[in-house]
Amino acid sequence: MHIVQMRGIVKRFGDLIANDHVDFELESGEIHALLGENGAGKTTLMRILYGLYHADEGNILVNDQPVAIHTPKDAIAAGIGMVTQHFTLVPTLTVAENLALGEKGSLTLDIKQVERSVAEASKRFGIPVKPDVLVRHLSVGERQRVEILKALYRNAQVLILDEPTAVLVPQEVDVLFEALKRLQYSGLSVIFISHKLHEVMDLCNRITVLRDGKAVGTVHKNDTSTKQLATMMVGRESFGVTRQEQRVQGEVLVTIKNMCAEDKKGLPALRNINLEVHAGEILGIAGVSGNGQAELSAILCGMQKPSSGQIMVEGQDLTGAEADVICATGIGRIPEDRHANLVGELSVAENLVLDHLQDYVKNGILERNKIQQQAGKLIKDFQIKAKPRDRLRTLSGGNMQKVMLARTLSREPRVVIVSQPTRGLDVGATDYVRSQLLEQRKRGAAVLMISEDLDEIIALSDRIAVIYEGEIVGIIPNSEATPEKLGLMMSGSNIEKRKQEKKRVQV
């Protein structure tokens, strides 16, 4: 029996289609994974189910009855609960007070009575929490338990968990999974959003894979493998860009030695990274998202500092260099987040010269004609659909990316750092961006390309380094690379196997 059915869900944000006619079915009493890359549309789909977003098209059935879910209140009434990535607890209130929030009732609140019923629910669902403790004294894992209990306390039959393990240490993950399996036996249905393959294989009965806003397919755990899932997640149709095999093996321009870094939460994100990039090659960094790519890119762009290790570029030590220093060395940087790294309120022309203003200034005064001319030239050369005076934020994602490319590549950098170059772009723009990157390789630049798109990695890279949980787990030449082999490496199967062997030995 299907407890939840979502049919033909479409959700647009401006020009972007976050969900493109997605069908999703949840069986009663199963743990169902929603798997996909960042930006694949997993969270959007579940936010629609929980009433945080409204679908532009499509309908939702709960227990085979059509329901209209406009707000989370409607979702809760339909027996759906959600634990979002950012917790919604009030830190200065106790657990019981948090659970009482949003409950209908009389004006007065008998907190003792609430505490008793919370304690009772905690026992019944097997989720240990202390009702009278202030939430701010709880660890992240404990807070998550409170969030789950909050949903169950409101009689949720369906529990949505959005990347619940992202904030947990491995021991807490084990505890969470045990609790979820126990709840499953008592009849709860769970939707588990994740991009971590082994977790999904550990916990879930069925898996629906989303890619670029579309549902790629739903598979039973027993009929699939991490390898197949990885390929389903990251594959994309190849386009007409071809890489010429022969090239000149140039000197080493970029050397990264033993580099480690932490993420924003202070957890290790990169462990002992060692990489070399030669002139005239594209080194692809492949991996499932969230395995340290964001930190690697930020460090190489000068937006974050590594905690140890060394970065040498053309013989110059750039370890921990700020963005202005990196910029002055002329390293070309094309980051993942175009919106944050361009200035939306400035004009296209201003953005095109912002990182090398010194060439367009005489005695501190802007040479406005020269800037407009340069903008006109770059707009033509890079086929940007915009006028020099347009505000950047009015451009589409593809055109913004072309602005970034034009600004960076027109200076003919010897070293190019590029991250997710074609994410969110349409076919035409994707082809264009890829051909431009190949152009850099031909010119003799050293290109380090981080991408979560396997086809892109295989189509463009001379060598491919695979990153898994912040480690480079292998570097292979393009000739040896197949989607299956890379998928296996990206799923960390070598490492997981080693870990399990270690465990077995210890036992």
Partner: protein, 352 residues
């Protein structure tokens, strides 16, 4: 059949400059209740607010006199806000400039105006910069919120002023808490004889023009606007965010300091406790009303100067409290800020 739908999308470019003009009638509607409560006819009150100050040349010039410090504090705040540095301390920086100007004015003796006046201008600017230095350093070095530090320093400088006026600088003859008079050689020259309009007004206009030039025509201005719009984007493009912000904070303080020097050297000729009475805070209103554009700031300052002059005229003619002017000014800010929300919406025709 077609109907209209309101969408969350950036409004067309021409909406933004219109907002202050929509805000004015809305503000007057909202404040009429107060005018009625004060026992006056709103239409008559607004005649006195807006028209009567312009009806004769003496009070029209008085509008310019009132606008002089407002032009400077508005320019000071707008400059900082353009770089995303939220300087709420123009009031304090104004007093710092005034204290320094007073010090120069009572220290120099029988000085030539060619020395005295530049000394007042430079002194006021430098003092404003110095008063802005500590919050700016805290912001740049330790990322301490400048809103809090600049705001709190405003009260500190008021106490310093009181300390001086009740101590070292107390007028030895009258024993009033006011400083001795400044040397005639340090007094700003009059632009129009037998009025209060002084050199400070011209200075303010020059500052506005320079500020416009810096913001729109120099690389420094482009860098600071980039920082103001997107600190990360600016940093990524290799702009030295902290250094730029520090410079902006100091210049902003300096401009506010000029306002203080102008009030001492052009209007009062000595330091008093109530020298400003909120000119620095009005600067925030003016910068916002002017859309952070220097010429917009100029217009807004003249308009607030008009309301301030008008408030006295209303008060005289109709016997309502002069504070009504402050209420109108504050309400205008709130209404304008609320109306800026219009920027985020667009009305679109949809075919049903």
């Amino acid at each position: 059949m077609s109907k209209f739908r309101i969408e969350r999308a950036p409004a067309p470019m021409w909406v933004r400059p219109l907002i202050p003009f929509i805000a004015i009638p809305v503000t007057f509607l909202l404040t009429s209740a107060l005018v009625l409560a004060a026992g006056a006819n709103p239409l008559e009150a607004y005649y006195h607010f807006l028209i009567s100050p312009l009806s004769n040349s003496y009070s029209a010039i008085e509008v310019l006199v009132k606008s002089t410090p407002l032009l400077l504090t508005g320019a000071a705040v707008a400059f900082a806000f353009n770089a995303g540095y939220w300087n709420i301390g123009a009031e304090g920086q104004l007093y710092a400039g005034a204290i320094m100007a007073t010090f120069i004015g009572i220290t120099l003796n029988n000085v030539s105006p060619f020395v005295g006046i530049p000394a007042m201008i430079v002194g006021g600017f430098v003092a404003g910069m110095l008063w802005a230095l500590v919050p700016a350093l805290l912001k740049v070095k330790l990322n301490i919120d400048e809103v809090v530090t600049t705001l709190l320093l405003n009260s500190v400088v008021l106490f310093v002023t009181s300390f001086l006026l009740n101590g070292a600088w107390r007028d030895p003859i009258s024993m009033w808490p006011q400083s001795p008079e400044i040397d005639p050689g340090t007094v700003f020259i009059k632009l129009i004889p037998r009025t209060r309009l002084h050199l400070g007004f011209l200075l303010a206009l020059v500052v506005i023009v320079i500020e416009w030039f810096v913001l729109t025509r120099t690389s420094f201005g482009l860098k600071m606007r980039a920082i103001g719009y997107s600190r990360e984007g600016a940093r990524f493009a290799g702009i030295k965010v902290n250094r730029t912000m520090l410079t902006v904070a100091l210049v902003s303080g300096g401009i506010a300091g000029l306002a203080g020097a102008g009030e001492v050297a052009g209007i009062h000729f000595h330091l008093i406790d109530a020298l400003s009475d909120g000119l620095g805070y009005s600067g925030i209103v003016i910068a916002t009303l002017g859309g952070l554009n220097p010429f917009g700031v100029g217009l807004a300052a003249l308009f607030v100067g008009l309301i301030d002059t008008g408030a006295q005229s209303v008060s005289r003619a109709l016997g309502v409290p002069v504070y009504l002017g402050d209420v109108v000014q504050s309400t205008l800010l709130l209404v304008t800020l609320s109306l800026f929300l219009l920027n985020n919406y667009r009305i679109r025709k949809v075919e049903a």
